[in-house]
């Protein structure tokens, strides 16, 4: 190994792109050649400083807001091409707006509900849980989740003054991703921005700038609410399975 060859391979060594045997040759050369060692150390230091320097560049709040705003407009544009959907949504939203206006209570966002509740493991028995929350849970919902590498974590009462009889069920997968479903008391009202029908069940999305959750209505009552504290892939699976099951 000579200095010229060492310099060529130095980058590949730094980037961990060399075979072990090639790495050993160049490391041995760097150890005995002070000139190459100086280059190597300067490269390493520069890389570490570069990481620090570039890492200090962060997106501004303004950019984040602008992107959100643009996406919202883009989403509106998508709807524009579907007049019947807009009409249907408007009728539904007007109806819901009327119901919502009648409710004078302030509705806390879900994350606030989550912060206000202490997780208390009630049971991992579906029957006990069903009785506890007053919603008939089906075993196969959870077995499906288990097959998807989810394990049951527990359930809790919500101690919030806004929701006295609500309950939260949390499910966690092996990577630590968490899904929380909040079963709500009767007559609970909340802000909303989208809704759709699936298999006769109204499926709501409360996703917008200041509210970030999904919930379901059955016979006109909001019965379940899912937090944003889980990855979108799981959201889709959960949304679809729950919409069918509940």
């Amino acid at each position: 190994m000579n200095c010229k060859k060492a310099e060529i391979y130095m980058d590949a060594l730094l980037d961990d792109e060399l075979e072990v045997s090639e790495s050993i040759d160049i490391v041995e050369h760097i150890e005995i050649c002070s000139e190459c060692r100086a280059k190597w150390e300067l490269n390493e230091e520069t890389r570490s400083k570069l990481k620090h320097f570039i890492g200090s560049i962060k997106a501004s709040q303004n950019l984040k807001q602008n992107i959100r705003k643009n996406l919202f407009l883009k989403n509106s544009n998508v709807i524009k091409f579907r007049p019947s959907l807009i009409a249907a949504c408007m009728i539904i939203l007007l109806g819901l707006g009327f119901i919502y206006n009648e409710s004078s209570s302030k509705v806390p966002p879900l994350n606030e509900l989550h912060n206000n509740c202490n997780i208390e493991v009630i049971s991992n028995n579906i029957e006990v849980l069903s009785n506890h929350i007053g919603v008939n849970l089906k075993d196969n919902q959870f077995s499906t989740l288990e097959k998807n590498d989810f394990r049951f974590q527990g359930a809790s009462r919500v101690g919030s003054p806004f929701i006295k009889r609500g309950s939260i069920i949390s499910l966690k997968n092996s990577q630590g991703n968490k899904i929380s479903i909040c079963f709500l008391p009767e007559n609970y009202q909340m802000p909303e921005c989208h809704k759709t029908l699936k298999n006769g069940i109204v499926f709501h999305c409360g996703y917008k700038e200041d509210c970030n959750y999904t919930y379901w209505k059955q016979n006109g009552k909001t019965i379940a609410l899912v937090s944003n504290n889980f990855p979108p892939d799981q959201l889709i699976d959960m949304a679809e399975s729950l919409t069918d099951e509940i």
Binding site: E7, I8, D11, A12, D15, E17, A38, K39, E41, L42, N43, E45, T46, R47, K49, L50, K51, H52, F53, I54, G55, S56, I57, K58, A59, S60, N62, L63, K64, N66, I67, R68, N70, L71, K74, N75, V78, I79, R82, S84, L85, C89, H194, T196, L197, K198, F203, C205, Y207, P231, P232, D233, L235, I236, A239
Partner: protein, 186 residues
């Protein structure tokens, strides 16, 4: 139609999550391309708009981060072609450092010099440095992302590091102790 609406909504959530996750990286890559923070943010905004339009029509994107990086790079190429930009370089970047005031000052001086040295490289060299050193992409991944042969990535990276090392040495920096020391204080 309801299903279409649901899918669009879910894709929007996914896309927002993708952007949120990689927004800083996008700004950093854009900055490495154009050397200007404000312009970098404009580019990222354009990129997100373009990416969203493409995202809702796609079913599956294998590597979303690389995909959106590619859109950013193309957006920048289009931008420079159209506008023939006069790039204003930022000299006084606001660095956040939790060290002692002396160390902070020393670091800031070094970062300013490093920034100046980086600015002397061409945008393609800065891009490979960013993808390799900061994002730790493999040569193969960089080659795929930039649409260039593997050998080009290797030589570009080699030349970029060689130039950067040379520029830093010219400014009086050399390796010593736990920090690069020296620097042309003039």
């Amino acid at each position: 139609m309801n299903r279409y609406f649901l899918i669009t909504w879910l894709k929007k959530i996914r896309f927002e999550k993708l952007v949120e996750e990689h927004l800083d990286s996008l700004v950093q890559l854009a900055y490495m391309r154009c050397k200007n923070k404000e312009l970098a943010e404009d580019l990222v905004q354009d990129t997100c708009t373009k990416a969203y339009e493409a995202y809702i029509t796609k079913d599956n994107i294998e590597n979303p981060k690389a995909w959106i990086f590619k859109i950013l790079i193309n957006t920048h190429i289009d931008y420079t072609r159209k506008k023939q930009l006069n790039i204003v370089e930022i000299e006084n970047f606001d660095f956040v450092d939790k060290k002692t005031p002396e160390m902070e000052m020393e670091s800031n001086v070094f970062f300013k010099d490093l920034n100046n040295c980086l600015n002397k490289l061409d945008k393609d060299q800065r891009t490979v440095i960013y993808l390799s050193d900061i994002n730790e992409y493999s040569y193969k991944e960089i080659a795929e992302l930039l649409g260039v042969p593997l050998g080009t990535v290797m030589s570009r990276l080699h030349r970029a590091r060689q130039s950067l090392r040379k520029l830093l040495l010219e400014k009086g920096y050399s390796r010593s102790g736990n920090l690069i020391s020296g620097g042309d204080k003039s």
